[in-house]
């Protein structure tokens, strides 16, 4: 059981020891890092394909359709076929686009979306880098992604692209504040920013019990941060066609999709780590538990997309500043009150 639970960590350590026989330690470290990241990249790409398939299929059933069902069993190969098609498409760069910025935009968007996973614990010790600023790292890296949106929107030299980028930035900057504030409650309870510490602190009760308000705010702000329905103002098809990536085609276009689904998955993964006990669970191996929980949250995201209409820009901004931020501050205040010694004494007194 122990072996199955830690199988990936064991494989990594065995490779490291074997390489250590004939290579200097610095080089071994570098090779292991490249290996882990490559495996991870492969996993994430396949995972995104499954996400796209699951989303199309789920929404189809919710709308009384069949969804993709021609390529492979249950249409499972549909995303693979789409990816191959996009790879072979012509790469078009508009004549008046700012070529370098245009090329760099999607790269920045997708690499920041990937870097967030660097601190995500998939199991006990199954994390690329268990930084002691873990959650802060994830948030700060995600905030750079916004520059990528702005770069692609601006460099396309297209009204709709620029409008989409403007909306993206206004929305992401506004919702970043409640997002960060909602996390503070959890950080106060744990007393650490490290992801592994946050998971360990939930071995008894999940933080969603202690921080229900924090979770709701985090989930809503997270949806806005990754531009998903009902907050998909950024790519509102009926208003600005596709938003910041309107001029992109072929693989560059696909990269935006990749980044979008990776961010959605990352948002769900952070929610699981902070509020649903991370990889902890009985019987099944930790990584299975982690993926199960994350997929469940992703399912709720799909469900919301199939259910709710898009909000207006003014509603969107008003909701962030007038509802979410005050509630997040209230959550911090309540958490602080709970952590006070007199309150702890009161609880202990009542328990007797």
């Amino acid at each position: 059981m122990e072996v199955i639970n830690n199988i990936f960590v064991i494989i990594r350590d065995v490779i490291a020891v074997m390489l250590g026989f004939f290579l200097p330690p610095t080089l071994v470290e570098a090779i292991i890092a490249v290996l882990v990241i490559s495996v991870f990249l492969g996993f994430m790409t396949v995972n995104v394909m499954m996400q796209v398939w699951a989303e199309r299929k789920t929404i189809a059933y919710m709308q009384d359709r069949f969804g993709p069902n021609r390529v492979g069993p249950f249409g499972l190969m549909q995303s693979v076929a789409d990816a191959v098609k996009l790879l072979t498409k012509e790469d078009i760069i508009p004549t008046h686009a700012d070529k370098w910025v245009f090329r760099l935009g999607p790269i920045i968007v997708v690499s920041t979306a990937l870097m967030v996973y660097g601190v995500m614990p998939f199991g006990d010790g199954m994390v690329i880098a268990d930084l002691n600023i873990g959650i802060l790292f994830a948030i700060s890296i995600a905030s750079i992604g916004t520059i990528g949106f702005l770069m692609s929107g601006w460099s396309s030299n297209n009204k709709y692209a620029l409008l989409g980028a403007m909306r993206a930035v206004a929305q992401m900057v506004s919702y970043e504040i409640p997002l960060v504030l909602s996390i503070i409650g959890v950080v106060m309870l744990v007393g650490s920013l490290q992801m592994s510490e946050i998971v360990k602190a939930q071995s008894g009760l999940w933080f969603v019990i202690w921080q229900p308000l924090g979770f709701v705010i985090f989930f809503i702000a997270g949806l806005a941060e990754i531009n998903r329905t009902p907050f998909d103002m950024v790519e509102a098809d009926s208003e600005i066609v596709a938003g910041y990536f309107i001029e992109y085609s072929g693989m560059r276009f696909a990269v935006f999709y990749l980044a979008e689904y990776m961010s959605a998955f990352a948002s769900a993964a952070i929610a699981v780590t902070l509020f649903f006990g991370g990889w902890q669970g009985p019987l099944l191996p930790p990584y299975i538990w982690f993926l199960l929980k994350v997929w469940l949250i992703f399912f709720v995201m799909i469900w919301i997309r199939a259910t709710l209409p898009r909000v207006r820009v003014d509603q969107l901004m008003g909701f962030a500043w007038k509802v979410l931020i005050p509630l997040a501050l209230l959550n911090i205040f309540l958490t602080g009150a709970i952590l006070q010694p007199w309150y702890q004494g009161l609880v202990q007194g009542l328990a007797k």
């Binding site: 910025v101 600023i133 802060l136 916004t146 520059i147 601006w154 900057v173 650490s192």
Partner: protein, 165 residues
């Protein structure tokens, strides 16, 4: 600190930082300048990490590369007019700028050469986030509160000015 990897990382970060900082002042397209400024901020964050100040590095990325840069780019894109097509303002004050630059360089050189630097081994890599938090909220709580109030005043001022009526 004498680890060759650390020295190499420092060299790369320092070069990227200086080149992108130079690009900020030398390039014609103001959006490109802003993007290079972001790169410069990121390199500074990298140097913080080399100095074991990872909390400061994350905050540098979150606030400077994330928020400040975005607002800057946003402001540039919103205020672009047909007349001034995305260009750096004319560099017609070379003399004045040179005087200021030389004065600043002199001042910095004076301060840097006058400081007695800590050359011993850096403190062990303990979680310094907690230490920073304690310092801010216990020893330096008054400056911290004053800074907060100042920011609040600035924010209210900005809202009052921006209101149409």
């Amino acid at each position: 600190m004498n680890d060759p990897v650390v020295i190499l990382a420092f060299a790369v970060l320092a070069i990227v930082m200086l080149v992108s900082a130079a690009a900020v002042v030398l390039l014609r397209n103001i959006v490109h300048c802003a993007l290079f400024l972001a790169l410069s901020f990121l390199s500074v964050a990298g140097i913080y990490i080399l100095l074991n100040a990872e909390f400061l590095a994350a905050v540098q990325i979150l606030i400077y590369a994330g928020a400040v840069m975005i607002l800057l780019l946003f402001a540039i894109m919103l205020t672009q007019r047909a007349g001034a097509i995305a260009e750096n303002p004319p560099n017609n004050q070379v003399g004045m700028a040179a005087v200021v630059a030389v004065a600043l360089f002199g001042l910095l050189a004076l301060v840097l050469s006058g400081t007695s630097w800590l050359t011993g081994a850096p403190a062990a890599t303990q979680p310094n986030t907690e230490a920073l938090g304690r310092a801010l909220f216990e020893y330096y709580v008054l400056p911290f509160e004053i800074a907060s109030v100042l920011l609040l005043v600035a924010m209210i001022g900005a809202i009052v000015i921006a209101r149409e009526d």
